[in-house]
């Protein structure tokens, strides 16, 4: 009797990896999913922060996909290891600070490690030739297989018929004839396959699943590195870039202002690490100051905060709180909107 084969699937939470996994499950292979948390994932937590998103379902799409497919999902924290991918991408960046090709190589490499540790036989991804301009091209497919070390244990069920045979196909673990030949950016074949499998609900994340493909987010990250004079980050840094308005009046300090109650609640958790300001005479948001502000800088920050609190008021009382727990009030006239230079907005 043939040994039952096992595959680990990279599950992003989107439709392609869902269909790729379903295709292999249908062939009788035992599949478990793996999902990597880099810290830049749009998935999940971002929706939990902003008040305007509170009404949206807070499901983790990768977990949801796993549940729909009836497979286990292993979510792996790769925040520390991912720094090397982002800071030193061998293949460079895409349109913004997205190191998509290096990222894919890294994830397949991690999946290979998991596969070996757990005695699985091969790896599957939802990649489609031509779907992504940086990482999903015919020329990048062998690069990912080779540089990840997965080689021919990496199977892409969605476009396998357009690629050389892999080990699982040669060994008869999967039937190549039942795999697909999708190419290009059209989503029509995927929608048709979803219908064929009876899959009606799936995530279609607007703007992709990674913050690094976002122009505004990448600009904030580049500003962070510029202001610090070095390219490095911690998880809290990249989390804070997802939240609030960011204004940099001068290179040595930046203002982070909550845009709604959800964001202010989130920023509350960082009070002990930053000089922070809040209006006390009027309703208004919480502001963190990132950097080392002097007295004049704090005065300026309070004027900006007052503008986001009670722009029409003559005077606003702002409470300033230092990192060592000392608080003092400032009576401030709000800055006018037109007095805030556009170039301050990061």
């Amino acid at each position: 009797m043939n040994k039952p084969r096992k595959a680990v699937a990279l599950i992003s939470g989107g439709l392609d990896s869902m269909l790729a996994t379903k295709t292999i499950i249908e062939q009788g292979v035992h599949v478990e999913g793996i999902n990597f948390y880099t810290g830049f994932c749009v998935e999940g937590h971002t929706h939990a922060i902003r008040s305007k998103d509170q009404a949206k379902p807070k499901r983790n799409n990768a977990l949801w996909v796993a549940e729909q497919l009836g497979i286990k999902l292993h979510i792996i924290d790769v925040v520390e290891e991912y720094k090397n991918v982002l800071l030193k991408p061998k293949h460079g960046y895409g349109a913004h600070l997205n190191p998509c090709l290096d990222c894919k190589i890294f994830m397949v490499k991690k999946a290979k490690q998991w596969m070996e540790e757990n005695q699985f036989d091969f790896i599957i991804t939802g990649e489609v030739i031509g779907q992504r301009p940086k990482s999903q091209r015919k020329v990048t497919m062998p690069i990912i297989a080779e540089q990840s070390g997965a080689d021919d244990r990496l199977l892409r069920p969605m476009c396998a018929k357009n690629l050389p045979m892999t080990l699982p196909e040669r060994e008869g673990w999967v039937n190549r004839e039942l795999l697909h030949n999708f190419t290009g950016r059209s989503r029509k074949p995927q929608f048709e396959l979803a219908q064929q499998y009876g899959i009606k609900d799936y995530a279609q994340p607007a703007g992709g699943c990674c913050f690094l493909t976002n122009e505004h987010y990448s600009a904030k990250l580049a500003d962070l590195w510029r202001s610090r004079g070095k390219r490095e980050y911690e998880l809290d840094d990249i989390m804070l870039l997802k939240v609030g308005r960011h204004l940099r009046p001068q290179s040595h300090f930046k203002l982070i202002i909550g845009r709604d109650e959800g964001e202010c609640n989130f920023l509350e958790g960082y009070r002990s690490q930053f000089v922070h300001l809040r209006p006390t005479s009027h309703q208004g948001p919480l502001m963190l100051i990132d950097g080392e502000p002097g007295a004049e800088d704090i005065h300026l920050a309070a004027q900006v905060l007052a503008r986001y609190s009670a722009a029409e008021a003559d005077q606003v009382t702002v409470e300033v709180n230092s990192i060592d727990g000392v608080s003092w009030p400032l009576q401030i006239k709000p800055m006018l909107a037109e007095q805030i230079p556009q170039e301050w907005y990061v």
Partner: protein, 75 residues
């Protein structure tokens, strides 16, 4: 069978799920894990994680800004 606690306050999803996953690896069949969180996303994600891995979610309670989930490990 023993009772264990996990503090996942201030962590945003999927970190609480990752912490639960790591903790459960150390536990044995029948152990009870009590998880305290602040991200409301856990009300969906931890039960979903339990379902796909076959663990039993015994209860989930929300008190002001804290959420307490109780799960029984199945191995």
């Amino acid at each position: 069978m023993s009772h264990h606690q996990l503090d996942a306050r201030r962590l945003l999803c999927p970190m609480p799920v990752i912490k639960v996953q790591q903790k459960v690896k150390e536990l044995v069949d029948g152990d009870i894990l009590e998880v305290i969180c602040t991200d409301p996303g856990v009300l969906h994600d931890i039960p979903a994680w339990c379902r796909v891995h076959g663990h039993m979610l015994m209860s989930s309670e929300r008190e002001e800004k804290e959420i307490k989930l109780l799960l029984r490990v199945k191995k």
